[in-house]
């Protein structure tokens, strides 16, 4: 079992985890709101730049976890402070550290009250999110996973929309309930394997029955986070009520934790159970694609529309994962990154519209393209990306997922087609209404176009949409070895019949 280089002291990953917390401590002593915003922006940008060290420091060709840090934490319980990354987690960490400064920019004016608390929540979130993606000790992972709940629900509940309390509590209860059984599974695994170390748990020959139990316990937790279809009901509420920065982090990073969980834990630790459950989960994924598409089509609230589109996109991610093919998993990882970029961008645009109109209704925004050409440009690109238009980032990801899916079940892919069509329909409908729709709407007179700050917020995402769309090579290269290794772990057990 390759576990990367042996024990080392603190390194880049610890810096990335500790830096936001340190920034939060400084922020706690700042008084003026402007200073707070400036400091948080500076800190998150700096962390973003430092995190680029992962891009150069990580060797994509080498199998196993890299940049490993390992120290005892709670000896009597056998818990370690153990970090490490593979290609998949590097991408997700970069996504997290990249989105954080954009969230600060998006909250610049949007958050007018209790700025300090908001920025503290944001920074604590960043620590927890980065921590989730690099923890190699299961308890450490769980601590980060749960520690995120408090700042996120505060973010929704204090700075959110009219039904914020309901949304915040629903989010908290769902996630917490989901992870309760995961904790039991972690303890059970520890007793079988003898350590909380994730690399040791991978490829440990667990009995088939035990694997199924563990898989089921993980499934509930991850399926709620993704969210997969019967467990998705917290998502529209949370997305709609959250402030823009909250929605961006929720869509951009938090949902990825579910799919990341499948990739990091379910597949390698319980390979037998993964194969047993895979057909069912592919079915659920297609249901999510269809349901997300149809539901988004029916929305008149733009934020809800984007929220439901997330359900569909994440359906593609889980579909790719449980196709258990190389194309599928690579595609799924791409979808995870792309969804963070594209949906993040859409939430930002919708948030900017809301700041101007104080409404998220599609009808109220109709025809805004006339007075806001910059906004219309950005919205156009993000909508095209969201419908997986060739040349944008999402195309490659969804294409790979479909290619992987076709290997397993062409029939299922045909069933998913209406979902893809719906994605085109709701995105084009939104774009058409906002950019071109309506006769000149008198209430739109004097609505200002995007400010320089807002353009600066959206531009990095736009660049990524086009860059990944035309040049997916570097991203795919980064994760290729990790994905192949992962598949090797899954296939190490006797293959099952995979067709549903």
């Amino acid at each position: 079992m390759p576990t990367g280089h042996p024990a080392e002291g603190f390194g880049l990953l610890s810096v990335l985890i500790a830096a936001p917390l340190a920034a939060a401590v400084v922020a706690a002593f700042l008084r003026s709101d402007t200073a707070l915003r400036g400091w948080t922006l500076f800190a998150t940008t700096l962390i973003g730049v430092v995190s680029l060290g992962l891009w150069t420091g990580y060797e994509p060709g080498r199998v196993g976890f890299q940049l490993v840090e390992r120290m005892p934490w709670v000896r009597s319980l056998g818990i370690e402070y153990r970090l490490g990354v593979d290609g998949i987690s590097v991408l997700l960490i970069l996504l997290t550290t990249g989105l954080a400064p954009l969230c600060v920019l998006a909250s610049w004016k949007y958050i007018g009250v209790r700025v300090k608390e908001f920025m503290l929540c944001l920074l604590v979130m960043e620590t927890a999110m980065v921590g989730v993606f690099c923890a190699l000790d299961f308890v450490l992972f769980f601590v980060f996973w749960e520690a995120m709940l408090i700042p996120m629900s505060l973010m929704i509940g204090v700075w959110g929309g009219p039904r914020r309390v309901y949304a915040a509590l629903k989010f908290f209860v769902y996630t917490m309930a989901g992870s309760a059984l995961m904790l039991a599974a972690i303890v059970a695994l520890r007793l079988k394997v003898g350590t909380f170390g994730i690399p040791e748990m991978m490829g440990h020959n667990l009995s088939n029955e035990f694997q199924c139990w563990v898989f089921a316990a993980f499934l509930l937790s991850f399926a709620i986070k993704v969210p997969m279809v019967p467990f998705h009901t917290w998502l529209p509420a949370a997305h709609v009520e959250a402030p823009t920065a909250g929605s961006v982090l929720l869509a951009g990073v938090l949902l990825k934790m579910g799919t990341y969980g499948f990739l990091r834990f379910s597949l390698p630790i319980t390979p037998y159970a993964s194969q047993v459950f895979a057909p069912w989960l592919m079915g659920l994924s297609v249901a999510a694609i269809l349901y997300g598409g149809m539901a988004a089509l029916a929305q008149t609230d733009m934020k809800k529309l984007v929220a439901y589109s997330s359900v569909g996109h994440m359906g593609f991610a889980t579909l790719g994962i449980f196709s258990l093919t190389k194309e599928g998993i690579e595609g799924a990882t791409l979808v995870m990154i792309n969804h963070g970029v594209t949906t993040g961008g859409l939430f930002l645009v919708v948030g900017m519209l809301y700041e101007r109109l104080h409404s998220r209704e599609l009808d109220r925004a109709a025809g805004l393209g006339r007075v806001m050409p910059w906004m219309a440009t950005f919205l156009g690109v993000f909508c095209l990306s969201s419908m997986a238009f060739p040349g944008t980032n999402s195309f490659i990801g969804e294409f790979l997922v479909m290619a992987g899916g076709f290997k397993i079940s062409p029939l299922l892919m045909v069933v998913a087609v209406p979902g893809v069509v719906a994605a085109a329909a709701y995105n084009l409908r939104m774009l058409q209404r906002v950019a071109y729709g309506g006769v000149s709407n008198p209430t739109h007179q004097g609505v200002p176009d995007l400010s320089a700050r807002e353009i600066l917020t959206l531009l990095p995402l736009l660049v990524l949409v086009i860059w990944i769309g035309l040049q997916p090579g570097p991203v795919v290269n980064l994760m290729q070895t990790s994905v192949e290794h992962l598949l090797g772990q899954v296939r190490s057990v006797p293959a099952m019949t995979l067709a549903p």
Binding site: W73, V74, R75, S76, L77, V139, F142, V143, E146, A147, L149, I150, L154, G157, V158, R164, V165, A168, L169, F172, V173, M176, A177, A180, L181, L183, A184, V187, A188, R190, L191
Partner: protein, 484 residues
């Protein structure tokens, strides 16, 4: 001379109590009483720290000073310091008996501190009573008030249940004495070993546990909890919710060390009671409107969690239980501190009364957040690590079903803990007058937050110390060494 030195923490507490008694004879010495109580707690803590490495058996083998007892003394005296700081103004206790109240508090602490070292059944029972009786009185010291459960009713409930439970405990101890012919715990354990699985011994140990089930508020002996919580003043409830529970866990560990380590019947009984307590406490807590009643029912549930470690009947489990009950005491005291400061004149605080707390006093709101999420078992607070330690211990001994019951319960509990946080952080209130806190309260809040987070992030130190002292005290696999 060394005997006296080993006995130093107890002596400090006893003389502090005496001083408080002398002060209580006069009037208008309220502030002085507070300082004396605080000083006693701090000096006693330092004394326990100084005697930490002392290993001695005194009073003809009835009293053993070892690592385990000294660690527990540090914990208990620490809790006493928190309680003294919390009982600052005592708004809800009549002015003329505030001196007595502080005297009772220190006496009770002395009782539980004595419990940790007692190696003789009789001494242990007497110490336990010394800890309990002041609390019966403390419940009754609350001010009389319209439209509120009478403090007398609560006090009588507390006494009656307490005395009945003690009677059963003594009855059980009588059996054990009859079987072994000694009151010395180490001797008793030795002579009981061949008999440990006989019905008589099981009945004896089981009944001896009842008195502690009552203190810990485990399921069939929990009836007093919500009413006493509601009827006693905030400060007294804080005491009842913390110190006796730590003491009870210590004594349970002592009683269970008499049981056969591989026995199955006692753990099964404990497991069923634990599962029942968790389910009952959590389900009823969901329906509560009064914050103190809610904490009462949640206390029943937490008693269930604490028992998870005792079910394991081994050292890892016992360390986990002590760790958990310590964290629980800190977390619940964080909640009671908030209640006592939010409450205008000592009235009970409905959950709705916490509305807008984060505007009224950010520090109190933060304390509440840490306390409540700690109770809910959310990392990085102490409650999470405590639960993890308990779950690991119980799972290791094959009680997977109990762990599953416990995690499901933890999930249920989140719902009502959230309802508290919701009011404090998301609720809007008409009255947003800021709450002013004195310096002592601010220190207390910051101290509690730091302690709860530290125990959650770095639990290793305390857990290691607990395991180490338990092995040193001969409690490995629950077989106490014969008195040296």
């Amino acid at each position: 001379m060394t005997t006296l030195y080993a006995f130093l923490p107890e002596l400090v507490l006893a003389s502090g109590a005496l001083g408080l008694f002398a002060l209580s004879l006069g009037t208008g010495k309220d502030r002085a009483g507070w300082w004396v109580a605080l000083g006693t707690a701090l000096v006693a803590w330092v004394a326990a720290w100084m005697t930490f490495d002392v290993r001695e058996t005194i009073f003809d083998g009835a009293y053993r000073i070892d690592g385990f007892s000294q660690t527990l003394k540090l914990i208990l005296i620490g809790v006493l310091a928190v309680l003294v700081l919390m009982a600052g103004e005592l708004r809800d206790v009549r002015e003329d008996i505030r001196g007595e109240y502080r005297f009772l508090l220190v006496m009770s602490a002395l009782g539980f501190v004595l419990v940790t070292s007692c190696m003789d059944v009789l001494a242990l029972v007497v110490s336990l009573e010394l800890g309990s009786f002041p609390l019966y009185l403390a419940v009754a010291t609350r001010r009389e008030r319209e439209g509120q459960r009478s403090q007398m009713e609560s006090a009588i409930k507390y006494v009656m249940f307490g005395v009945a439970a003690n009677a059963i405990m003594l009855f059980g101890l009588g059996y054990l004495y009859g079987l072994t012919g000694t009151t010395s715990l180490p001797l008793m354990a030795e002579r009981l070993r061949p008999l440990a699985e006989t019905p008589m011994a099981l009945a004896g140990i089981g009944m001896a546990l009842v008195g502690l089930f009552y203190k810990l508020a485990v399921l069939p002996f929990h009836f007093w909890t919500p009413d006493v919580y509601e009827g006693a003043s905030h400060e007294s409830t804080g005491v009842i919710a913390s110190m006796p529970k730590v003491g009870a866990v210590v004594v349970m560990i002592r009683w269970l060390s008499l049981a056969a380590p591989e026995g199955r019947s006692l753990p099964l009984l404990l497991g069923i009671l634990a599962a029942g307590s968790m389910l009952y406490g959590n389900l009823i807590a969901m329906a509560q409107r009064d914050f103190k009643r809610l904490l009462g029912f949640s206390g029943i549930a937490h008693a269930g969690y604490t028992m998870l470690g005792l079910v394991a009947l081994d050292q890892a489990g016992a360390s986990a239980s002590v760790f958990y009950v310590t964290s629980y005491a800190l977390m619940v005291l964080a909640c009671f501190t908030v209640i006592s400061r939010v409450s205008e004149d000592g009235r009970n605080v409905p959950i709705a009364g916490l509305a807008g707390l984060h505007r009224r006093s950010p520090l109190l709101a933060a304390t509440l957040l840490v306390g409540v999420f700690g109770l809910a078992g959310v990392p990085p607070f102490a409650g999470f690590m405590g639960k993890l330690a308990l779950f690991t211990a119980a799972f290791e001994r094959g009680y997977g079903w109990l762990v599953v019951v416990a995690v499901l319960n933890a999930a249920i509990a989140v719902y009502y803990y959230l309802s508290v946080v919701r009011e404090a952080f998301f609720g809007d209130a008409a009255d947003l007058s800021p709450i002013r806190l004195d310096a002592a309260t601010r220190c207390l809040c910051v101290g509690l937050i730091v302690a709860i987070v530290t125990l959650g992030v770095l639990p290793g130190r305390l857990l290691d110390v607990l395991s180490a002292v338990m092995s040193a005290a001969g409690m490995t696999a629950f077989v106490p060494a014969a008195a040296s």
